[in-house]
């Protein structure tokens, strides 16, 4: 890499400031003692305490958590199935159309997705509430799962599935004993992605939700309209903490696995070489 020139340092500083200054401000002011958001008067954690007494916020958090877990799980199942069929049956008629349709929601404006969901629910006469939000979130997150899983499947060696069947495993047994364990990391990261997306969605939830099923982003948004309170800063800080921890843990686990694999491979190679040069009697062929 090049040297740390002043220009490089400056560009990195400006870039990171651009990305993280608002967040840092939010976190700092969540520890502000003052009721006024923009005036610093001293350090305090009292707003975190008052959060626990804000029943409306707690209810919204609970709704969000349930919606997130349910919709992420459903989206993971559907998205994984979609990814599997897309990568398996590479030559069926209309494959391009189908895969395009899987990807389209990624770039579809959320307002349109939300509105079309609303129209659908009204048309079929579904009462809007907890289940409609969950359904809507499943719909819009499953394509993200499909993309993550499909990219893993591109490097998936299909001959291990054939080997499993050759050894007597039925297609179902093959899926659960061979395919799923191998692609599990991708499926799990798809789940985490879907959960995160569901957690911070405001637009689609606003369309699909009804009375009694207010999600946390919806609650925060409606409170902010009455003015930003330090309480809001506090809950946002907690949210940031959860997301950051999740990302960090995922990254660390992946990295450790990768390092472990590389170490093992080097060790096996070194051993193979030394055996080739000086074969021990037990391993010498004959």
């Amino acid at each position: 890499m090049g040297r740390w020139s002043r220009f490089n340092v400056a560009s990195i500083a400006i870039g990171f400031a651009f990305l993280y200054l608002p967040i840092v401000l939010l976190v700092v002011y969540s520890f502000n003692e003052s009721r006024l958001v923009t005036v610093w008067t001293g350090f305090s954690t009292k707003w975190y305490g008052t959060l626990l007494t804000n029943q409306a916020l707690l209810d919204a958090a609970w709704v969000t958590l349930r919606v997130g877990v349910l919709s992420a799980s459903a989206a993971t199942v559907l998205g994984t199935l979609a990814a599997l069929s897309l990568s398996r049956y590479s030559e069926f008629r209309g494959r391009t159309l189908f895969s395009g349709m899987i990807y389209a929601p990624l770039v579809m404006p959320e307002v349109i997705t939300g509105l079309s969901m609303l129209l659908l629910f009204v048309a079929v006469g579904l009462d809007r509430g907890f289940w409609t939000v969950t359904l809507a979130h499943t719909t819009f997150t499953m394509c993200f799962v499909a993309v993550v899983v499909q990219s893993r499947l591109q490097s998936f060696d299909r001959s291990i599935e054939e080997a499993a069947m050759d050894l007597g495993a039925t297609p179902v047994a093959t899926f659960f004993q061979v395919t799923l364990p191998v692609i599990l990391p991708a499926v799990l990261s798809g789940w985490v992605l879907a959960f995160t997306l569901s957690l911070d969605d405001l637009v689609i939830a606003s369309f699909a939700s009804g009375p009694g099923a207010t999600t946390l982003p919806m609650r925060i948004y409606s409170q902010v309209r009455l003015g930003v309170t330090p309480e809001i800063n506090a809950i946002c800080t907690i949210l940031i903490g959860i997301v950051a921890c999740g990302v960090l843990i995922a990254a660390l686990v992946t990295r450790r696995r990768e390092l472990q694999r590389q170490r093992d491979e080097r060790a096996a190679f070194a051993e193979g070489m030394s055996r080739a040069i000086n074969p021990p009697p037990a391993a010498a062929g004959g």
């Binding site: 060696d157 001959s159 291990i160 054939e162 080997a163 499993a164 069947m165 050759d166 050894l167 007597g168 495993a169 039925t170 047994a173 004993q177 061979v178 364990p181 191998v182 694999r261 093992d264 491979e265 060790a267 096996a268 190679f269 051993e271 193979g272 055996r275 080739a276 037990a282 391993a283 062929g285 004959g286």
Partner: protein, 377 residues
């Protein structure tokens, strides 16, 4: 006539008219869209045979193996195993196992679990599975590696795990797809003999797909040479080498000199006359003027300073054009007066020679009357 084989084979069920084939391909065709991978192919393989499917890439050998394993269905025709049709039987219900070219080990399972996988699917009791796995590990000399994952093994060890896994269920037939393709040369030679010993000891039928002719020649009882989805010749390695039935087989296996000629009539019998002035009597009557080639293997051509004598020996004048020294043998490229270059190899059986041949030297190349094979078309 002399025996073509250089050693005697006691095992030859294909020569026995009463022997029943164990595996039969009957007029099998496989098409992928417009591409015909296997073209109306019929083939019999016998119990305990080590059978090789040999050919270049895209000749249909792998497709044939995959149809036997059940991963592909024939477009038409039928495959029989032990007198039963395999059509409609999925891979997981066939009494055959396959060793994959990429080994296809389950990356998330230990060596032990990999080997036990097939037994577990059959619902074998745990104690029996453990016993069988231990036995298999011993067979491939990997007892010390039972708990390792595939990525913790070297290439040769992975190959052994794949072999142990495919043998664990004691299949009637073991299919091997380029079993030694990923190994380096030295390990490959060693493993060839291990496979042969294993096949003999276990009394199994092996069907191996390979593009490596030396591998096929060394290991197998019979070889099917394939091209464009058809079997060109099925025979023992010695027959394939010494009596190829076509130019394709003669050129595919080993080195060969093709001396071109035309059919002529002499005393009412067909003879082959080449541009080099060689005449060979043909075993059958052919149309006059037809193009025919005489195939002579390089080791059957002899280089000498004196004109060789002996009844029926064919001799041609030539000039030494190139010399390739391989250590164990030397190959002389001899330019004939017609401009054609033939290869003559001689074994370096002694250390050094009295008066060696040199470049540009005028010499004689000759071959015995039985050394040439007449090939039509």
């Amino acid at each position: 006539m002399k025996s073509l084989g250089i050693f005697r084979r006691s095992f030859a069920p294909w020569a026995d008219p009463n022997a029943k084939p164990f595996i039969s391909f009957r007029n099998v065709t496989k098409r992928f869209g417009d591409f015909t991978a296997v073209d109306n192919l019929s083939l019999d393989i016998y119990t305990r045979e080590f059978f090789a499917l040999l050919g270049g890439s895209g000749c249909g050998k792998s497709t044939l193996l995959r149809m036997l394993a059940g991963f592909e269905q024939p477009t038409s025709g039928e495959i029989m195993l032990d007198g039963q049709s395999l059509s409609g039987i999925p891979p997981y219900r066939r009494p055959v196992n396959m060793m994959f070219q990429s080994y296809a080990l389950f990356p998330h399972m230990s060596v032990e679990k990999n080997i036990a996988f097939g037994l577990k699917q059959d619902g074998m009791p745990k104690t029996e599975i453990a016993e069988r796995v231990a036995q298999m590990l011993k067979l491939v000399k990997l007892e010390a590696f039972a708990a390792r994952k595939p990525h913790q093994l070297s290439g040769g060890q992975r190959q052994r795990v794949a072999l142990a896994r495919s043998l664990a269920k004691r299949p009637k037939v073991l299919l091997l797809d380029e079993p030694l393709g990923a190994l380096d040369k030295k390990l490959r030679e060693e493993t060839q003999f291990e496979l042969m010993d294993l096949q003999y000891e276990l009394g199994l039928t092996f069907v191996v797909v390979t593009h490596d002719q030396e591998e096929a020649m060394t290991m197998s009882d019979r070889i099917a040479v394939m091209s464009h989805g058809r079997v060109i010749q099925v025979a023992t390695p010695a027959e394939i080498y010494e009596a190829p039935n076509s130019r394709f087989v003669a050129e595919f296996i080993g080195d060969v000199n093709m001396i071109e000629g035309k059919v002529a009539l002499e005393d009412g019998r067909s003879i082959l006359r080449t541009a080099e002035g060689i005449s060979v009597a043909l075993p059958e009557t052919l149309a006059e003027g037809q193009s025919v080639a005489l195939a002579v293997r390089p080791e059957k051509l002899k280089v000498s300073r004196q004109q060789p004598e002996g009844a029926g020996v064919h001799a041609m004048r030539g000039e030494i054009w190139d010399i390739a020294y391989f250590g164990d043998m030397t190959v002389f490229h001899v330019k004939l007066p017609s401009g054609k270059i033939v290869k003559a190899s001689s074994l370096n059986a002694t250390r050094g020679v009295e008066d060696p041949f040199g470049y540009d030297e005028q010499i004689w190349v000759s071959f015995e009357p039985q050394a040439g094979i007449v090939l039509k078309g």
